[in-house]
Structure formats: structure tokens, C-alpha cells
Symmetry: C2
Subunit: 354 residues, 2 copies
């Protein structure tokens, strides 16, 4: 049963694996001393834009943790720049977008022909592929149109998404135009990542969980589906992720990704039930569990694997990104435990069925 | 079929109503000019502590909106003061708790015999009851132990609840002790509200939706259930509310409240399915929908009532509190539409069944 293809890619296709593949959202991040050292010398956008730096932090994190996939280091908001918006990152404050979208005129002015300016991400992917040389798959990614639109409209993170939802409700045509423009940039951006060697792509619709299911289905889903299909047409699987998505899973499934990423709020067995056991599922340890004492953390890793029940198509991950103060040794321990516990689980399943 | 008991109280018991009762969380709040006028002259805590002011803002809001119930004006965090913690409210920043709980010693020092200091809330309820004289039911409320504990530990609102969840995971006995202490204050506080005339009680576990279902079931549910049962023993129905609760509804149902309050993320029909159609359900218009143009807002009100399907035991509300910038006339329009649309819906159901 074990073949030469990496277990992460096998799990994306719901093929048998020897142990559950594991990686972490934001695995190259501030909790790592190696990353902080690079970050002291370079700004966040600078790291993203210099392929040798982006590749370095990507590779260092994946090697240090011993995970089953390396997600390219980049920022969700990079595509806003070639569209004509200005970004900056304030210490401890998250992203700030200058002149958030407030008028029809601003939306009309957004450029859609600048995806080529993001070629540095593809170049970083090439470097990471060269480094791993097939040993570890490289994951590309982009923010989904809704999540990017929410940043563009709110000017940064948001609690209630009043401006975004108000645009959706009061000017659906304008909203559709904005989503179209985002797709026009995101599609070539994602395809360039695939071209550069990304072996899977994650679409982060991190904040879609703020929406009611109907609004999501009508005003968000079609655009995410378009991007997912474009990537799939190149033979590359897609992971479609949102937080707080318990009410949206059915609709998200219609977008057709091979893998749905879910957070810790919905037990995995229920998430699978919700989607008729068809897609693979990625998740769903609470990132805050990484702060727990070792015995308790191990118990929680076991609980996630227990919920997954050794089903085909489980990718172990957190329910959201690693938090900045997370102890590195706990992240490393989770990788070891996932291997050990899931390998034993697979062994038990094989002996039961065989 | 119509009897003299208010439709809100009938719906709590899943009895037939002539139209769906409607009220709004935070209906007496900053979006109302009358409230802002009072607030310009008095601090938030001062309004809570002066029964004539708390009663005035409660009554003014309920009369102005024409809703089916008046929730007493108070703050979730009031019980922290008699426990020995200091609160303040910064303009636009939300609550700040001085010296958040960080040590076992601080938890040990928390007082549990001070619920009597909150008698001002009961006095405000008495005044509101006198005003309405049976015409409109008065709802009392308290924050649930988890949500209050999260404020005490994080020192205010939180995004990831790292300190709270870490205490739960690393020191379950200490957590249990803190929850016990909260119950020791919240139980007499709620019973005093009932004694003063509250005809229903809402338990706000606003932030419980950050938890995985297992953690909720083991470390939160027992305490909320204890409070709910204490109120029910006095013959008063309880509304049990959380946001982001799609993964928790089954566990919340075990706490036994007559009514579950849900947010807009889970369509009402699915929420009912999730709990086997047993409890009444309150919700679930997105508060941001109140910013939409009238036609769109009306469509959304219809959609909520359509989802409720005229079932026994629907109480129309938002999925969370009214936001400060909300246009008052939209809130008033929702009350009219709920009456009109749901009365027609009840009429149709009666003629179909009759």
C-alpha cells in the first residue's frame, strides 16, 4: 500500500496512507526563533518579495518541525498591491490597508492585469521545490475573494464586517464586480504558483464564517468555485479553508475542493457527516491547545485522530494558524504524536479488515 | 387560542401565538438617541446602579420599538464587582478589568457572598414591572460562568482566549473552583431578579462558541445547567444564548433551557433539527442586516420567519446585540414586519390545519 508519493498528496486524494499527514497553518511564523531572527532584519513584505528569504523561512520551518508539507511563506494580502492598494503591517496590529474601498469609483479603479507583479511568490516556490527535490510537497495559497474583499473594504481585520456586509446587501452588482476583479487577479496568481511547482493549493476564506449560509451561497461561493476549478484543471488538488464554518460546510462543499479545512468548533466526525463523507478533511486541533501541558496536549491530539477514525483523507492541522507565543517544542511533539498514534491506528484498521 | 398571557411568554413554553414575539438583544443601547442623551450625563456603571435610570432606559427602548419584551438594562460584568474585581468602561474600547486573574491566590481571594450588593438590578426590575403592569414581560439576565470567567482572566474582550483555555487545560481543578465561585454569586443574583419580577431570564454565554464541543460539555455545561435549573425551580423560563454555537447546540440543549438563542450562522431550520425540535429557539437575524436598504432588510426578516416555518416556540431576535450605528427606524420596521408577516403565516397554517 505505501507508494512513493508523499502521504500529504495521497491524503488530498483520499488514498491510503501509512500515517496521517500533518502540517500547520502559519508554521513559518513568529513563534519560531529562526523566523524572528530573519524578521528582525527584514520587514514582512520584504521577506515575501525576496524569494531567497521567503524560501528560507519556508524551508527552515518545515525541516525543523518535520511536517509532511511546506506551505510557501507569503501574505494573504499581497494581491492587493498589484490591484492598486497600499498595505502596511504595524507592529502587533496586523495589516493596515490605506484608503479602504468606500466608493464605486474606487472599485472601478482597481487594476486586474497586475498578477505578474506577484511573480516573486512563484520564484520562492521554485526555490523551495529545488530544496526538497520531491521529498516534501509544496503548498501554494491565496486568500479567497470574500476574505480579501473584507480586508479591502474594512481597511484591516474586522469584528462585525458592517461595511462589507452592507455593500453585499445594498449594492449586489458592485459586490459582484469587485469579486470578479479579485478573481481576475487571483486566478493567474494561483496558476503561476502551480506553474512554479505548487503541488497543492489552499484557498483561505478565513473570515467567510461571519456570513449566513444563504449569503455565502449566493454572493461568495461562485467566485471561490471558479478559482478552485481553475486550479483543479491543472491537476492540482485544492484545500478550501474557513473558520466558524459549521453553518457553511454544505455550501463550501459545492465549491468542489478535494479537501475542506475546518476549525475545532465542529468535531471532525460531525464535519464529515455534514458533507456526506465525500471530501477529504483537514483539521482541527485548537491552536490554543498547543499551550497545554504535554499530557493534556497529547490527549487532544488523540481525540482529533479518534474523531477522524482513520478515515481516508484526513490531514492533521490546526483549526487556524499557530499563535505567536506558541512553544515550539509542543508543535514538534504534535508531529511526533500524530505519526505514532495514527500509524498504530492504521495498523489496527488493517489487521481488523485484513 | 389567543389568551391573556403575553406572546413572548407563550413562545418560551412553545404554546401557540397570534404572531411571533420579537425583541432585540441590546435594544436599550447606543443606537438610540434617548439612550445617548442619558449616557452623556451618566457613566455606564452609574446607569446600571441607579434603578430609576436603568428602568428609564429599559422602558424607553421597549416602548419606542414596540417589542414584545423588555430586557432589563444592566451590564454582564456587574457580578465581578462584589467578587472583588474592579471594572471600568473606556470610550469605544469596551470593558477593562483591572488585575485580571492570573494566579491561584487571586482566584482564592474572590468573594462569593456579595450578590446582595447587586440588589440595584432587582430594584430596577421592580420599577419596570410597575411601569408595564403586566402589559410587557420583563427579562432578567446574567452572563454565564464561562463568559464571565473569560473576561476575568483575559482582562476584557479577547480574540483567542489563550489565558482562559490554558487555565482550563492546565489546571482543571482551579477552573472548576472559579466556576463554582461564579455560580455561587450568579445563582442568588438571578434568583433575586426573579424575586423582583423577572418573568424570564436570559443566560448570556456569548463567547462559549470559541470552545470545542468536548471542552464545553466537560468544563462549562455543568455550571450553566446548575444556574438554569435554579431559575426553573422558581417557575421561570430560561433563554440560553451563545454565538458561534453550531458545534455546541447539542451540548447546550443538555443544560435544559426552555429556549436556545442562536446566531445567524446556522439557519433556524437546521438549528431546530440539531436539537430534535424540542426547545424553543430565539434568533437569528444578522445584526448587520439592520444596515441594509428596507426592501433587502424585509426580505431577510421574511427569510428568518420562513426558516422558522411558523413552528411553536420561535422568538424573533438578532443573532447578537444591536450595533451602535444601527438606524433606529430599521429596528422599528423589523418589529412591524415580524408582526405582519408572522401573523399571516399563522393564519395560513391555521387554515391549512383547520
Amino acid at each position: 500500500m505505501p507508494d512513493s508519493r508523499p502521504r500529504f498528496l495521497r491524503a488530498c486524494r483520499r488514498e491510503p496512507v501509512d500515517s496521517t499527514p500533518v502540517w500547520f497553518m502559519r508554521q513559518a511564523g513568529r513563534y519560531l526563533p529562526e523566523y524572528r531572527a530573519v524578521r528582525e532584519r527584514h520587514g514582512l513584505l520584504e521577506i515575501c518579495k525576496r524569494p531567497e528569504l521567503a524560501a528560507e523561512v519556508t524551508v527552515t520551518a518545515a525541516e525543523k518541525l518535520g511536517v509532511d508539507a511546506a506551505i510557501i511563506f507569503a501574505d494573504l494580502l499581497l494581491p492587493l498591491e498589484p490591484m492598486g492598494m497600499k498595505l502596511r503591517f504595524e507592529a502587533g496590529e496586523g495589516p493596515v490597508i490605506e484608503e479602504p474601498l468606500q466608493t464605486e469609483k474606487q472599485i472601478a479603479r482597481l487594476k486586474t492585469d497586475g498578477a505578474g507583479e506577484l511573480a516573486y511568490v512563484g520564484e520562492a516556490i521554485r526555490r523551495v521545490r529545488r530544496h526538497f527535490n520531491g521529498r516534501l510537497p509544496v503548498i501554494g495559497f491565496a486568500g479567497a475573494p470574500f476574505t480579501l474583499a473584507s480586508y479591502m473594504i474594512e481597511g484591516g481585520g474586522s469584528r462585525h464586517y458592517v461595511a462589507t456586509k452592507s455593500l453585499m446587501a445594498s449594492a449586489p452588482d458592485l459586490w459582484a464586480g469587485l469579486m470578479d476583479k479579485l478573481c481576475a487577479v487571483l486566478e493567474p496568481y494561483l496558476l503561476a504558483q502551480v506553474e512554479a511547482g505548487a503541488e497543492a493549493v489552499q484557498l483561505f476564506d478565513s473570515w467567510a464564517g461571519c456570513l449566513a449560509a444563504d449569503d455565502y451561497a449566493q454572493q461568495v461561493l461562485p467566485y471561490s468555485r471558479r478559482l478552485i476549478q481553475a486550479v483543479q484543471a491543472r491537476g492540482v488538488p485544492v484545500i478550501h479553508f474557513a473558520t466558524n464554518s459549521a453553518g457553511l460546510l454544505g455550501a463550501m462543499q459545492e465549491a468542489g475542493a478535494e479537501v475542506l479545512g475546518v476549525d475545532w468548533r465542529l468535531p471532525l466526525a460531525r464535519a464529515w457527516e455534514e458533507v456526506g463523507f465525500r471530501p477529504a478533511i483537514q483539521g482541527n486541533l485548537d491552536p490554543v491547545a498547543l499551550f497545554a501541558p504535554a499530557a493534556e496536549l497529547r490527549r487532544r491530539v488523540e481525540a482529533v485522530l479518534e474523531q477522524a477514525g482513520g478515515r481516508l483523507g484526513h490531514i492533521f492541522n490546526l483549526g487556524h494558524g499557530i499563535l505567536p507565543e506558541t512553544p515550539v517544542e509542543n508543535v514538534q511533539a504534535v508531529v511526533r504524536w500524530v505519526r505514532e498514534i495514527s500509524a498504530a491506528q492504521q495498523e489496527r484498521l488493517r489487521s481488523r479488515h485484513g
